[in-house]
Symmetry: C2
Subunit: 328 residues, 2 copies
């Protein structure tokens, strides 16, 4: 059996989008619920998800374990996993790592663009690597089963996290820097550090991460995946679309600036193009996962490789990394 798993989305969630997930046959979505939010605000976002789960039980439910992806497929629904793109929800309190895992949190980025208490973000000029608290928190995340995600972290911090972590880590959403030299895409030594320790990377369809941005073709995207598979092993990759659907542009401003600056920071955008970029025509939203699957087949991946990239690899990763570490 095969699964379709998207390991990052952040939409202006609605019944329409949940129905599109079903139309696209998406068994699981890892939903971002935090960019800058503190613990209490993150819990508020969880409570909002609980309302959606209560309101649309025939479309979605809260995902906690890999087995929920199977349950979703068997019952024709989408399992929504909840994750954090920043370390802000644990504030300065290592005890909140386990609390957030108990609440169903499954991935946490150690930093988001900026320096955090744990690690450096990819937009900082200097990257001194993991902090003292960062090393402690990785150990605690390993213990409880909260997965380290370094998508928006800087290179040295990412490599150190991959080496320091006793369980595999992830880059849930990025592409190869050698293909599209965006600040957020990952250099080969970073991808190698993550994958050689058993980690996973999800390919992003956020236009700023694509060669040619919105004009990138499906064939170019799939060729990049083939390159990555050749270099690092196909089993280490999946999809992390970074789909940001139906948001007003004020939301991308919040994602970039939060409360940390009074000045606008355009991130991957610019003063001329400050808003969300248009999606490529071959991936408008959840309904288009079938096109990705076709593209992977046409670029020459074998059926089992396609199945792995579309969800099987993430499923295997979920299955071994969401549960607490075995006692020594």
């Amino acid at each position: 059996m095969t699964y379709r798993i998207d390991c990052v989305q952040y939409a202006n969630w609605s019944e329409k989008i949940f129905r599109q997930m079903r139309e696209g046959g998406v068994d699981a979505v890892n939903a971002t619920i935090c960019y800058h939010e503190n613990f209490r605000e993150t819990v508020q976002n969880m409570a909002q998800w609980n309302r959606w789960f209560e309101t649309y039980p025939d479309l979605i439910f809260k995902g906690r374990w890999a087995s929920d992806v199977k349950l979703a497929r068997d019952t024709g629904r989408t399992a929504i996993f909840l994750s954090f793109q920043n370390a802000s929800p644990i504030e300065d309190d290592i005890g909140l790592v386990e609390i957030l895992h108990e609440l169903g949190g499954r991935f946490m980025q150690l930093s988001y663009n900026n320096q955090s208490l744990l690690a450096t973000g990819c937009y900082e000029a200097e990257d001194p690597g993991l902090t003292r608290m960062g090393k402690q928190v990785i150990r605690e995340m390993n213990r409880v089963g909260l997965v380290v995600d370094m998508s928006h972290s800087a290179d040295r911090s990412t490599i150190e996290a991959a080496d320091h972590s006793e369980r595999p880590i992830t880059i849930t959403h990025a592409n190869l820097h050698s293909w599209q030299p965006a600040l957020r895409n990952k250099r080969d030594d970073v991808v190698r550090a993550v994958t050689q320790n058993g980690g996973m990377m999800g390919f992003s369809m956020y236009p700023h991460h694509l060669k040619g941005k919105t004009d990138c073709t499906l064939e170019e995207f799939c060729a990049m995946i083939a390159t990555a598979a050749d270099r690092f092993g196909v089993e280490h990759f999946g999809i992390g679309s970074d789909l940001c659907q139906d948001h007003p542009d004020s939301v991308v401003e919040w994602m970039r600036v939060g409360r940390w600056s009074k000045e606008i920071d355009y991130g991957e955008g610019s003063a001329a193009a400050p808003g969300f970029p248009d999606q490529p025509h071959w991936f408008r939203d959840n309904r288009d996962f079938g096109k990705i699957e076709d593209g992977l087949r046409q670029i020459g991946f074998a059926p089992d490789e396609v199945a792995g990239l579309m969800g099987g690899n993430w499923y295997r990763f979920f299955d071994t990394n969401f549960t607490p570490a075995k006692a020594a």
Copy 2:
């Protein structure tokens, strides 16, 4: 098989106490983690419990479901369930009911001595009954499986809660007012409202709830239980010892006054005796549950009645009331 369950304790927790639980053969303890704490402070107390669970895995673990009581007995440990003696942890946010249940919260009092946003406490002069929010929150507690506890609530509010709730409610710790007319003990019409709807009451060994206080004998205590069983049915009763062990007297002051008053309120104590009262000699701590069992046998309860009172009745209640309500 039989279980020993104590449905309320609030101790200055330590390895010594956890070992006493094992010595007393206590399979499950419902531990209070909130008297006046708001959400964030309650989470802090949960994180502290997680530290104890991590430190003493051979003695205790976090209880979530009735099956954990069986697991505890089968593995020679004590399952610790976490509960709130006040509605303060949900603040003004009904969404926190489900969040707290996801974190393992299993009982919540709707009020603690004073008026809350939900219901009236037993020390208020007037009891206008359930509030608008109180009715909404009871429905939400019913939905997710967070049990209503009215131990410190006023009579009218308690009776209204028993009638309004679609699932059985509890008085986890109190005795019969007709036996010892303490403000916290429950009049027959209150006990009847709770038990006739399938609810449960736990008998307290907190001296202020006992006839003769510290000097109350085991025989008198068990005779009171026999009276309650005759009046309302033995299957509705268990133990909720209210054991407050190893605390300095500053803690009982916090329990009584929290942050709501600048003046001391002696509660069930007095200016002459402001501290924790001494335990009766037949129930010093968790090691003495065997004595209660002997006392119940000697007062004439049949073996299956003794087993029910010592834990079987709570086990049955846990088994049907901690899980979410079945979808209609």
